[in-house]
Structures are given as C-alpha cells and as structure tokens.
Assembly symmetry: C2
DNA sequence: CTGAAAGCGCTTACAG
DNA sequence: CTGAAAGCGCTTACAG
C-alpha cells in the first residue's frame, strides 16, 4: 500500500495539516517538527496523491496539447518545446490528437480530458467551436496555435506567414527571377492564404503583378506538389523560379523537375516554407523559410500559464518571426556539404 | 461554476448514486429515470470530474510515456503510436522527457507524475533503477521500450537489432562486398551492441571474421559518423562497404565520402539503421533497416493496458521484427525518383 | 431498481 | 506554530 498523508503524520507524530503545510510550504513550521516530517516522508517514500490534491484544490498542474492526428513530423518539435517549458514550471503535459473531421467519439474523451488539465493549447481546428466556447465560459484558459482566434476570443500564436513568404519571394527577385510560380496550399487554411499574400506583396513591391496563371493549387502534401509542378513546367515560358507554400510540396515539385529532365536551380529555382528536417538533405538542399516550432510550443505554454495564474489582460495574438534559410535550390552558392553539427 | 453530480441529480430528481450508475453503466436503470438523467446531463453540459473519480477509484485512465530529452525526431512516431492506441482504449497520454544524467530535479516531478497515471512506458534509462523498483513494488505497471529489462522485472519491447543488422550485412555480402566496415554506436547501449553482434554473425555465416580494424567507434550522431568514415576511408585497402549502426551516423559518413571525392555506392557502399525520415531524401537514397516505432508505441500501450487490467502472466519481452529497406546507397538499382505517395 | 452514507487523500479556513 | 474538522466530487458496499 502506498503511504498517505496520514501515514506520514502518524510516523512524524504531527497532524496531517502540518504535513500538508510542509509539502506546500504554505506556512512556517518549527524547525524540529519540519525535520521529523521530512524524515518520515523520506523513510516512507511518500508521494502526494495527485487526484486528492486535484480534488481539494481544483487544480491539476497539467496542461494539454491538442493537435491534428495527421500532423507532420514537425509537430514533434512543438511537443518538445511545450514539454520543456511545462516541465520547467512544474507542470505535466497531456497530449491528445483528434481526427479532425468526424468529431463525435473524440468529443467525449476530449471532454474528460479537460477535467484533467488546467488549460489547453489547441493546435487543431478539429475541435467544435461551441465546445471551446463552453470551456472558456467555464474559465478554462486556452491558447490557439497556428490558427486565427476566429470566434474564440483567446490568446493565439502563429508564425509570420506573410512576412516569411514576402522575404522568400524578395530573395528570388533579388536573384533576378521575374517569372515566379507559386504552389498554393488549401484555400481554407489561413497559413496558405497568408503565404500567398506574402508572395503577392513581394511582387507588388517590385511592381510586378500576381498573375493567376502562375498560381496553382496544392494540398500541402508531396503528391500535390508534384502535379502542381508538372503544370507549371508546361507553361510557356516556363517559370524561372517556383515557391511552394510548404516544404512537402517542394519535395514533390523537386521530383517533378527531375523527371522532366531539368535541373534545380539551373533550369528552375525552387524554394519552400517550413524548414522540415528533410529540407537540408535534399539535392540540392532546399532554400526555405524556417519556423521555430519549438519556440511556438514554449511560448504557448508561457502564455497559457500566465492565464492559469490569473492574468486578466486582454487576449493577445503573437506573431512569431520566421527566418530565411538560404541553401542551394534558389541558386545561391551556399556551402556544398551537408551540414554537420560540430 | 461547473455542474457536479449533485447538480445533475437534483435536476433529474434522482440520487447521485443513480447518476453515477448511469455514467458508469454499472447497474441497470429504469428506462424512465435513465432518460431524465441523460437529459439533465445534456442540459447542463455535465462532465465528470477526473480528480474526484480518480480519488474514489484509485485509477486515472491515463498512462505516461517517458523518453529521453535528447531523443531524435523519430520519437514522434513512438508518441503517435502510443497516443493512437491509448486513445482507442479511452486512455489519455501524459508525456515526460527526462534529462537522463543528472536526475535530482527530475526525480521529484517524475514522482508526482506517477500518481497521475495508471502505468508507465519507459523509453529511457535515465530513470533511477531503485525508483522504478519502488513503483513496481507498489503495483504500478511498467513496460520498458528499447531497453533490456535488466534488474527491473517487467515487460519489455525492443526491435530485432541483431536480426536487422544481420540481414543488412548479409545483403551487402550478397552484393559481393567482403571488406565491410562497421561504425559502432556507444558501447553502453544495448542497441549498439546487438547491431554489432548482427554484423559479426552475418560475417561468420560467410566464414569471414569480424576484424577490429574495420570496427570504428561512433556516438550515434552525425558528427561521429563523419569522423568514423574518414578513418575507414584511410584504411588500406579501403572497405568496399560500410554499415553505420544508425542513420544519423550514416548521414555524417556520407558527407565524409563526398568530401574525399569518392562516390556512393560506386566507390563505397554505405548503409544505415533506423530508417529515419531523411534517409529516403539523401543522395543516393539510403538503404537501411526500418524499425516500426509506431508499432512499438502501440504494442507498448497494449501490453501496459493488459497489466493495468490485471494480467498476471510472467513478464514478457517482445522483439519486434525489422525490415530491410533497399534504396540505392548499397549499390542496388532501386527506383530513381524520390518516392511519391500517390 | 434506487437511496443514504461512508470513504478515497488531500487542503484550508477556523481556533487556539 | 499547530490541530480538529469540513469539504472537494466522485464510487460503491449496504439496505431496502
């Protein structure tokens, strides 16, 4: 049997209130009694029961990270960042992935989950809006990751999609490319929209216009990047450079270029967005826009904890800067070797 | 205020015991009363409090996955597998990463964590052995992932390292290579040891011996693979093929080959182990041994849940098969294009 | 089939 | 500085 606070109190010859105070440092304790309590705890290997504590304090010291089931491997970084930050604050991290479309079953376990946590980081839109509103009304803090707040009034975090895209396209323009294709993401996703906007903004700044012919749809996956690139390569004249709205599509696009017998970047430059792990291993290594997922995870936890600790400032949305990562697929002469961490 | 079981009972005009029975399906309820309860719950948007339930039942419906802080991105797959399987069984997943070496601080939050879960999957050796034994004595089920049970008598899961390595080296031998180098992992890691064993076994089966000159140490990271390969390339005669004990080292090794002006596989074949995501994007795409991390995560959860549900069969260690993934770095003429999911 | 009541292991006013 | 006691929201024998 696990020892309880009563076992400890008995062994130390004090009341359970004293043990509790020692545990929480919630009141001064006579040095002698403290020593006895400390010893009893150590002897028994006592660990307080989280459920009992949770029930008494209406607090769990854990937060949840909800993400879509089909999220790319770079959610790993998000998790890592969140876990690190939560751990540092003495919180635990519960993760939960939801199917997205057909809620239903999810909804129930998700409901149960929310009573296990003090707050949620929502990195998925798969959650029913009204459900989220319910939670908020009940006072559960929520921060949205990579999504517009929309109807939900709450803190949110997203990368600077438009800014990153603008920077990328400006870089291509500086290379001298003028006919630049864009492989778009799903129209419904804010990320995709914003990246398209950045693309157009950059062109406009050069007094170029954003022509529909050069903008082809994609679905943020490898295969759609492949077919999109095939379409672009059939244009006359061919684009000098192509900007894929994410790296996965850029990978597919790269294959399409090779299969057509052309070379990157000599015949077409090709760049992406996200800086997923494989990007640097491609041939040529992919020039792309880095998003700091770990940083997003950490920041989300920080913002959430502030709310949990009672912050009442108005909802805030933080836009995290992105970073241009120049490799070789844009035509730059970046270091040839695959990078080695020394 | 969140509704409690009392609110529901009052609204439905029944006792809290009846509501509880409805919630748990633990007894037959008159159809009429059931309808009233169901309605009250829906109206109020009632969700049972996990802490209270946990305290009453000494159960949490959540399990923990503990992994090393510095784990590669392929722990993402492990998490994914575990989450899927846990979710399907109505369990939640708590994740926790530990620094490994200097326990201390970790130990405390880890202790608290264990009272939040019904069982643990340990994918890290960073946890103090005696601590784990304590948990086991107290009846907390544990399954070890990727580690030998050692002193801890418990279920465990690991990939067939020796078998996978043997298969890989046999493949190289079938190519006709006879002088095959091995880049070893850290001596202390079972995985590394077993892969070395597989390498030697395969050679022995061809009546070749496992010569120390051809076995160079590495640390499972890119840089050590790089330097190890440099050493191997300076041997006379040069190895015809090199087997790196993991893909990360193979990536470093590949760079070393390029820098020396040689080609893979024409001048040296090069293969790895793990099949991490970048492997297929390398030039040439890396032949390697695939480990099913998702499968390991799922199986771990299955085994753990069986224990939680009271299974008392003797501790079992399951060895998961690996799979040879032939790409081009071994000299095979696998499909040239980067693979596309259609 | 249903209810009253005890109990799970904590925390925290309330007294002293 | 310390203790006795109430209460957090559930579950589950025990009666009926």
């Amino acid at each position: 049997m696990r020892p309880t606070i009563r076992t400890v109190a008995a062994k130390a010859g004090v009341s359970i209130a004293t043990v509790s105070r020692f545990l929480n440092g919630s009141a001064h304790i006579n040095a002698e009694t403290e020593a006895k309590v400390r010893e009893a705890i150590a002897d028994l290997g006592y660990v307080p029961n989280a459920s009992a504590r949770g029930l008494a304090t209406n607090t769990t010291q854990t937060i949840a990270l909800i993400f879509p089931k089909l999220s790319g491997p770079f959610f790993a970084e998000l998790i890592r960042g969140a876990e690190t930050e939560a751990g540092a604050a003495g919180y635990h991290l519960l993760i939960y992935s939801i199917a997205g479309s057909a809620a239903g079953d999810d909804d129930q376990t998700l409901g149960l989950l929310t009573t296990k946590v003090d707050g949620l980081i929502l990195a998925s839109r798969g959650v029913q809006q009204n459900y989220v509103r319910d939670l908020q009304r009940q006072g559960t803090p929520i921060v949205l990751l990579g999504e517009e707040p929309g109807e939900i009034a709450g803190d949110s975090i997203r990368p600077d999609n438009a800014g990153g895209a603008r920077q990328m396209v400006t870089h291509l323009l500086e290379h001298g490319y003028r006919r630049i294709g864009f492989i778009h993401g799903p129209e419904t996703q804010t990320h995709a929209q914003e990246r398209l906007r950045g693309y157009c903004d950059a062109l406009h700044a050069y007094e170029l216009s954003c022509v529909p012919e050069l903008i082809v749809p994609g679905a943020f996956d490898e295969h759609s990047g492949y077919t999109a690139m095939q379409r672009l390569l059939h244009l006359h004249p061919r684009p000098e450079a192509v900007f894929a709205a994410n790296d996965q599509m850029a990978i597919g696009a790269l294959t399409a270029v090779y299969e057509s017998g052309l070379r990157v970047p000599e015949d077409v430059a090709l760049v992406g967005f996200d800086d997923i792990e494989p990007a640097r291993y491609l041939r040529p290594p992919l020039t792309t826009v880095h998003q700091d997922m770990t940083g997003q995870g950490r920041l989300a936890v920080q913002m959430l904890l502030a709310r949990i600790q009672g912050s009442e400032t108005p909802p805030e949305t933080r836009v995290l800067p992105t970073e241009l990562v120049i490799r070789r697929s844009c035509g730059c002469n970046a270091p040839q070797t695959q990078s080695i961490e020394i």
